[in-house]
Amino acid sequence: MGGLPAGPVERGEHDEARSYADWERRVDAMAVLMAAHHITVDERRRHIEQLPPEAYDRMSYYERWIVSLTQAMIQRGVITTDELGRKMEEVRKRG
């Protein structure tokens, strides 16, 4: 991966490699919507590449996407960190 040793290559196509959870489909849809608002794949990759290596390895594909979309929205002032923190609290309480 990126010229470094990595595990075996997943040869399935993006959509058929495995079945995706609803939240993963929502994250994908949100990325498409944000691209329509000029948040480019390059911007999202910058945020993903800024993850510490151990976080990068621990997170799943769409978890990394969530981080990148969220960082982009905070940087652009679409949401604030306080709003994000409060929403996460609210969701956690739902159990």
Binding site: G2, G3, T40, D42, E43, R46, Q75
Partner: protein, 93 residues
């Protein structure tokens, strides 16, 4: 329009530097020499797009051909095998 400085067949070397930000030029190819295979067109600079700017003027993007055995010291395939990487003009000398 940013002028294309290279022609197919030209020998080029990829700059070996590691600035901050999102860089499309793969780490493993920096510092290696190859041959221009074609001009792919002109595209907004992804390094600028990644920083929330428009990336204009669009920059020439080339497909550059490298010999696998020159990129990977332990390469065991055919000596003629090549690797092609698309690289923006400002990364080439």
């Amino acid at each position: 329009m940013v002028e294309a400085r290279f022609q197919p067949g030209d020998r080029v070397t990829v700059r070996n530097t590691a600035p901050l930000g999102h860089i499309r030029t793969p780490f493993y190819i920096r510092g290696h020499s190859g041959t221009i295979e074609r001009l792919c067109g002109r595209f907004p600079n992804p390094e600028e797009l990644a920083q929330m700017r428009d990336g204009l003027p669009a920059l020439p993007l080339y497909r550059v051909r490298f010999l696998q055995r020159e990129v990977w010291p332990d390469y065991r395939g055919s000596a003629d095998d090549v690797l092609e990487v698309e690289i923006f003009q400002h990364w080439l000398e």
